[in-house]
Every structure is written in C-alpha cells, then in structure tokens.
Subunit: 319 residues, 2 copies
C-alpha cells in the first residue's frame, strides 16, 4: 500500500490527459501538443515513474536474436565452458523470446573471424556477444556493428577503444599482477621466471600481452629477491614445442612459470610432473578439468579462474 507503484494510468489522471498521450510522451513519438506534453512532463518530474518490465515484455512478445561470435568450442575446452554458459543462458531466457545462435570461428584464423563477422552482420541480429581475441581485426568489425546500430557486448578480452555496450571479464593487467603476487609469495630464492604464451598468435592477442605487462609491472615494484623474467611464445600445435619446453625446463635457475592461456597450463604441468620438478611454481588460468587434475596433484600451484561459463551467461543477460 505504502509502496504504491504508479502506473501509466495514474500519470494520465494526474496530468488530466489520457493514457495514450502519456505513452506518446514517454516514447517521444510526437503527435502531442505542447500544452499536453508540458503537463505530463511536469508530473513525470515530480514522481519517479518506473515502467513495469513484466507487463512491458508481456505485450510486445518480440523475438530477440542474439549471436555469439566466439572461437569454436570444439577446438578448446576454455571456449567449451563459455559455450556451456551460453547454453544455460539460452534455456534461461528462452521463454522471454530470446534466441541465441552460435557463430564459431576458427582460432588462429583471422580470416575465419572476419568471415564469420560478416555473416553475423548480414544475419541482422538484435545483439552480439563476442570475444575479440584479435585486436587489429576486431576494431573495424565493431565499427560496422555500430553503423548498423547492433549492440554488442565484449567478454574475456576488453578493448575499451571499441566502446561496447559493456564488457564482461577480468582486467587482464590486474590479473597478471595477481599472478605475479602469487608467484612472488613465499619465494626466497632469486632466479628466473618464465611467462608462457601458448597460443597460435599471441602477439595479436592483447589480453595475453596485458597479462604479461601486469606480471612485469608487479616485479618492477617488488624487487627482492630479484627475478629475471623471460617471455616465450610457443604454439602448442608446433611439433617442435615439446623440445622447446624441455629446453626451458632444463634451466636450473627456473623458479616459476606463468602460463597466460588456460589451455596451455596442463601441458606444462604434465611435462613438469614427468620430470619430477616439484619445486617450480606453476600458475595458470581456469578450472578446466585437465587443469584441475594437476591442481589437485599439486603440480599447478594456482589457477586464476576467469569463469568463462559465468562470463558468457552474464554477457547474454546484459544484452
């Protein structure tokens, strides 16, 4: 009673006009005399009108199409988890007339990304959720979206320059700092720390570089014991990769490894375990089942959880 919700009808009576007129003022679609608009505006300023979202969505009953433009889940467990979140969102929002379609693109194929982005555009969705893992290719795509006034939400990787509707995900820089803090914690011997980007094209993936920057930033402010930080870019599909890894691990001064990608962590962990190198600290990303195995066995010391499932779900919700 006390929390009496004002309806559009109440405003109408208060302003001495009909509901239709109030409606037109609210949706600013003209066809209203100045005098009438005045009156309604006045009432609106006095009391705060909150349209009832339930009633609103009931009537319209529109179908919304949202497209998720993300790397192929089949290729990568991280994106598979994200996909899980999408499926969850799908079922959750289904009866509100929201339909989610997946446009997976090939990781490591910028061309694939560009092509799929074009398809998204021509599909004319009501919203897009995407993870712009390629900086250079992403920006022009977003400009196109904006021109077609298709709202888009970024997740996983942030590109502020793209000014999306919103961004869901963690701050890669801070995330790198956290990793560094955990790496530093309790370390009493100086030595080498390795930052590993296990990706096809890590130079173009800003979020990986941001993580590294955060990692280095931490150590530039926290100097004892002194660490030498080296950075490596490996493609885990490369046949030479095991060799490179072995060479890296043979460094007796190596104290810790920070893997910037979720998938790569378990590979490194298995290598460490084989060599019985328990003293090398390993920090990676995300609770993939593979990773969890090594986390339990103690080979992986910390996993920074990006919660792709939840992120994807939230992303859709925001749209």
């Amino acid at each position: 009673m006390n929390t009496k919700n004002i309806r559009i009808k109440d405003i109408a009576t208060l302003a001495g006009v009909s509901t239709g007129t109030v409606d037109r003022v609210l949706h600013k679609r003209g066809r209203v005399s100045k005098a009438a608009e005045e009156k309604v505006r006045k009432i609106l300023n006095e009391i705060e009108y909150k349209p009832n979202p339930i009633a609103r969505s009931l009537g319209s009953n529109k179908k919304y199409r949202i497209i998720a433009l993300i790397p192929d889940p089949a290729q990568n467990p991280y994106w598979e988890q994200a996909n899980q979140g999408l499926i969850q969102a799908q079922t959750e929002w289904a009866r509100y007339g929201i339909q989610i379609e997946l446009f997976p693109f090939d990781m490591g194929g910028k061309e694939s990304f560009k092509k799929k982005a074009q398809e998204v555009l021509s599909a004319q969705p009501d919203g897009v959720l995407t993870a712009p893992i390629y900086y250079d290719e992403a920006l022009p795509v977003f400009n196109l979206f904006k021109n077609h006034s298709i709202p888009y939400v970024l997740f996983n990787t942030n590109i502020p320059a793209a000014h999306p509707l919103s961004f869901i995900g963690q701050d890669s820089f801070q995330s790198g700092k956290v990793a560094a803090g955990l790496m530093h914690f309790g370390q009493h011997l100086s030595g080498t720390l390795a930052v590993l980007h296990l990706d096809e094209d890590s130079h173009n993936s800003i979020h990986l570089l941001e993580k590294e920057r955060g990692f280095r930033d931490y150590f530039s402010n926290n100097g004892h014991p002194a660490f030498e930080i080296t950075e490596f870019n490996f493609n885990p599909e490369d046949p030479d990769f095991p060799g490179h890894l072995q060479h890296l691990l043979s460094d007796s001064k190596l104290r810790g490894i920070f893997v910037s990608t979720s998938r790569g962590t378990s590979v490194v962990a298995s290598s460490l375990e084989k060599r019985g190198k328990k003293d090398i600290r390993l920090i990676g990303y995300d609770m993939l089942t593979e990773n969890l195995k090594y986390l339990r066995s103690g080979t992986i010391d910390f996993l920074i959880n990006q919660n792709p499932k939840r992120q994807a779900f939230l992303g859709i919700s925001h749209l």
Copy 2:
C-alpha cells in the same frame, strides 16, 4: 517460430476442452470430470508445458514480504556489507511487489536472536532470509518456521539439519582447507600456527568450528614441515584481549595466524604491523575496508572473500 512457446490455450485446443479446464487440471483444484482430466493429462505428457512466469506474476500482483533475520549491521562491518546486498535486492525487486524488512538481532545475545525470531514469526512473512550463527538456538526456530510453512533460506552459515529451501554461502570446511593450503604454501620452516576465533561466543558458531576443522584436516594430510596448530578463542571486546594477543605474538616459533572471522583480521594485522612482524603469515576473511588496507600493505597475506553483499542479494533472489 520454431521455438513456438505453447500456451495454456494451445493445450486446451489440443485436448478439445476449454482453457478453464486445463487450468483446473494444472492447479489440481478438482471440479473436472475424469474423462476431461485424462485428455488434458495425455497432452501434458506429450508436450512439455512451461507456464510463462511473466504473465503469471502480472495478474496476481501479490505483495510479498520477506524478512531478513541477521545480526545488527551497525555492530559489524561484515553484516553491514550483507545489509548493502539486501538494500540492493530491495530496490531491484521492489516493482515486483517484494518488500524486504530487516529484523536485526544483537550479536552475542542469543536471547536477542530468540526474541527477534519470535517477532519474525508473528509478523507472518512470506519468506525469511537468515544467518543462523547460533546452532543450538537456531534449530527450534526453523522447526517453528516449517510448522507455519514459511520458507526460509540460510546464508553465511549452513545447517543441513535445518533443511532450508536453500543455502547460500561457502562451505566453511572447504574454506578452512583453502586457508590451510595458503598457509602451507611456500612455508619451509616448521613452527606454530594459530587459529583465532575472535567472536563473543565462538563455541556455538558452527561455521567457525567448521573452518577450524577444515584447517586442521588439511594439515593432518600434509605433514611437512610439521606444524603445531593451536586454537584460541578471544572476545575482541574483552579488555584483556590486547594482552592475550601480545602474548601470542611473542612466540618466536609462530609462523602464521588464521583468523576465522572477518572483523578480527584487521585487529591482528594492526598488532602485527606495530611490532614489525612481517614474517608471520596472516590469513583472514572478507574484503572489509579495514582488511583491504592491511592487504595492500602486505600485512594480511590472503583474504578469503565470502562476498556477503552478493550472498545476501542471492538469498533474496532465491526466495
């Protein structure tokens, strides 16, 4: 189109009856002939009917009263954060006719808890969100709630025996194990570890005891280096408290302190900082502003975040 949502009306046509009959079958309020019920039931089994929650809540437009029975936020920053979450939930759900009332009880006064619980009962709310920090007193209260068929959601502290509608919060036992893991991590000298319960009546607070149990459990499985774990119960309001703390800190073999309550952590941290004891590891709970200060300065090594604000919010949402 393809995801055509079936309405109650569709079922009616399919079964060859009217919507009213379907409605009666769905809400099982009788007044339906066996033959008709048969037909409707058959259709219902074939297709999965999902009532549109939007339309449902539109019509009813009921007012729901939810009461939050939690410790007085004014007395404790942790519960103040929880209160923030309640306020957020309040504004969020306001227009769906949900009203949240706060029944704060005095911490450290079981009598206060019992009294307030009685008040809640006589207020006849549609739902209760509560944090049963006193085990012995809580159970009979929940039985009363159940008798009056008032749904209740627990948060912060779980009491499975109370079988509530749901529980929001972390597993205290696991949380203690995590703390132990972080305590153990990188420790290379054996010594003493202290578990501090800084509460008025810690013996009756199961979640604190659960945390300790988890903490001890970890070390019983991870033995090197060997630690002696001691446990202390202090009341931070007690005038003797600073003396006790000082005595504890004078132990040269003390390696780390685990504070099981969110509020106490900063007190210990300030003490540590005064004595310049940087080498004692300190682990506590929750991102209270006080705690964050010491986390930044490095005196507190880890804070396990229980996110009371979010928990409270989720609790209401579940109801």
